[in-house]
Subunit: 233 residues, 2 copies
Amino acid sequence: MFDVIAFDADDTLWHNEVLYTETQDKFKELLSDYLSADAVEEALYRTEKQNLHHYGYGIKSFALSMIETAIEVSDGQISGQAIQAVIGLAKDMLNAPVQLLDGVHGVITALSKSYQLMVITKGDLLNQESKVSQSGLAHCFTHIEVVSEKTKDTYQALLTKHCISPRRFLMVGNSLRSDVLPVLAIGGQAAYIPYHTTWAHEIVVNPDQGGKVYHELEHIGQVPALVRRLSQT
Amino acid sequence: MFDVIAFDADDTLWHNEVLYTETQDKFKELLSDYLSADAVEEALYRTEKQNLHHYGYGIKSFALSMIETAIEVSDGQISGQAIQAVIGLAKDMLNAPVQLLDGVHGVITALSKSYQLMVITKGDLLNQESKVSQSGLAHCFTHIEVVSEKTKDTYQALLTKHCISPRRFLMVGNSLRSDVLPVLAIGGQAAYIPYHTTWAHEIVVNPDQGGKVYHELEHIGQVPALVRRLSQT
């Protein structure tokens, strides 16, 4: 049934959003003299969205947006020490150990015996490569593709590049917007495994699936059974 | 003779280092109350080198290192406005129009009629993709590979991935360290076209070529003749 099964990385293979949430909490604390936690969160999200087309995704972009927000929120009064603390938070994120989600190691190792597996992820190239390498799973994947955005066109280009027929392609991920809808749109199959928290930017309200259906799972441990089931139909 | 000719991007296809130099001049000016221009340059380079394994290459990394240097050099006294100005400099760099080097358009267009051409470049994924797209030359390249580091292993992996024999591979670039020596080391051929200024990090003193020879050219306009000459031997 499938020639290739591809996995999103952040919050599909390993915990990621929790790192951002924890850092954001420390950032709000740092700015608590100037603004309420909620207002800081709102200002940061606004800055991140404005900067997305300049910076793209990833921790360095997040760091630059935090610094810009700190200056804005404090009306330029923020101290050099506080900015240095923000840079320290970003470096801590970059150096945080990779924590696999439950079941990932077993599922990926087992599937890699029967299928070609790929990682398709957004974010910063160096940081994602380093996480794949730290995960201990690099040998299970035939390709690691770090892309700047996950659109229909991105998936189409990747499938063409690797000579994969969409009908024989399954994408597994935690974002409807990035991992599921664009894959359905090009005729692929998608398994959606929600993570307990999702970055506001990745949330889709009333997704248009174009009449196509994705498979919602509770955890990655259910992927092998889904693959077996789809292969029998 | 060659199945694939690959080109470095920054300072091989388009001007890049000059953007960094101009930004650095403005940065030194911004810190002139605290330290001499030379001392700022030295401090910035030290910070960049220390941060390379955290951040990798590219403009966002440069921006974060400038901010860190500004805090250090000013002993934390730098103002929020000045940091905002540094962020503005980085955004200007990200949005700077792509300026092709002389002769690039004609040479790439002509070679693409007879050869598979690739771009192999370091730096930030989104920024490099955007420059390729702005260059008007995207259609001439069969693959754009953005990598986090250009070592012997990187080239070996790319050649394996694209089923290219090293003997039938020519790399063209402006950095002995990144474009020439690692390619010679895996048995490929390399053309070295120095740019008028090179970032200190890319300079190699007394390069060890392992007895192998690269081809030094003055400008990209000489590449087609080199390719013809090598194809006849």
